[in-house]
Symmetry: C2
Subunit: 161 residues, 2 copies
DNA sequence: TCGCCCGATGGCATAATCTGCCAATCAAAC
DNA sequence: GTTTGATTGGCAGATTATGCCATCGGGCGA
């Protein structure tokens, strides 16, 4: 999957990465056309990028609001004792909650994790917090911020020249 | 694109949404097989979901670390004067920075925005902050947290039954 | 209970796409 | 200028997508 010496990316590879980050389901033919290559080598390059692990996968972006998730929250969690077992347990429990879209271990004097959460409304949020997050062993502090407006999300990673 | 009365989702639609959030480039044939429908109606449903706006698009996930982006930071921004023009200007300037992966306007007594940033290293980060973010008109406070470990990201939106 | 009606399904045929193979091309090193 | 190696383009077979039409099934009224 991941070679020890990843070959450098030329301009074709970079164009491919840029385009499939924007249009993940673009056909190989159109991809080839846009990068100025014939379909054959274009597909070979795409497969190579997938094999190398540079392309981790493909996702459809679903409109969470249309599914009823009108509330997005950023939750900062602090843990009382910093043992590996506590962390591992917390991460496992949190991964089991589908409302938790993202979990980052971060720096901060009073904070250990930031969670990004999607729920329908405040009632849901309160229930999730009180019944599923606060009770996790080791959680000593919880601080919530709510997203007033997502200015932009899910941007592609810049592919430098 | 977005109908005023979106038709309710049945179990087929929900399965489609679940699967394409995990495998965005799955072929229609395999998708049909997995949801227990023949290719014809499966494709019709997929297209309908795209037309309705529920599926916003498709993205390839690129491994940022392999591209050299070893540092991920969460930056909290406070603005000194809360006028619409200031906000709009800030958002425009920030959207022009490819290192800024996400920009959320959030609640908080001292905070107005959270940015998620990817850079190669601390030098890059310092330069981005001092040369491109701090100078934006209206920015009065900047506070950085760094991501020690992304436990998980890019999870799909739960599609409730 | 029966029969009608509307929407959704499955299958088919055609069109488009994917994908492996081969010879030809290009670039760099000698 | 020649050789060597990798990359490309085109072609053919296999796979997939997509529009069309008859059929099926569920809900509604009689």
């Amino acid at each position: 999957m991941k070679s020890p010496h990843p070959p450098p990316l030329d301009r074709y590879d970079r164009r491919i990465l840029e385009l499939i980050q924007q249009e993940g389901r673009i056909s190989n033919q159109e991809l080839a056309e846009r990068i100025g290559l014939s379909p054959s080598p274009c597909l070979r390059r795409l497969r190579a990028l997938e094999e190398s692990g540079l392309i981790l996968g493909y996702r459809a972006l679903v409109d969470a609001r249309q599914l009823g998730y009108r509330l997005m929250a950023l939750v900062h969690i602090s843990m009382d004792r910093h043992t590996p077992e506590r962390f591992a347990n917390f991460e496992r429990q949190v991964a089991a909650l589908p409302q938790v879209q993202e979990c980052l271990m971060i720096t901060g004097q009073e904070v250990d994790y930031q969670l990004k959460i999607r729920v329908e409304d405040m009632d849901d949020y309160q229930q999730l917090l009180l019944q599923h997050i606060t009770p996790i062993e080791g959680v000593s502090g919880v601080h919530s911020n709510f997203v007033l407006r997502p200015v932009f999300e899910n941007r592609g990673v810049p592919v430098a020249p």
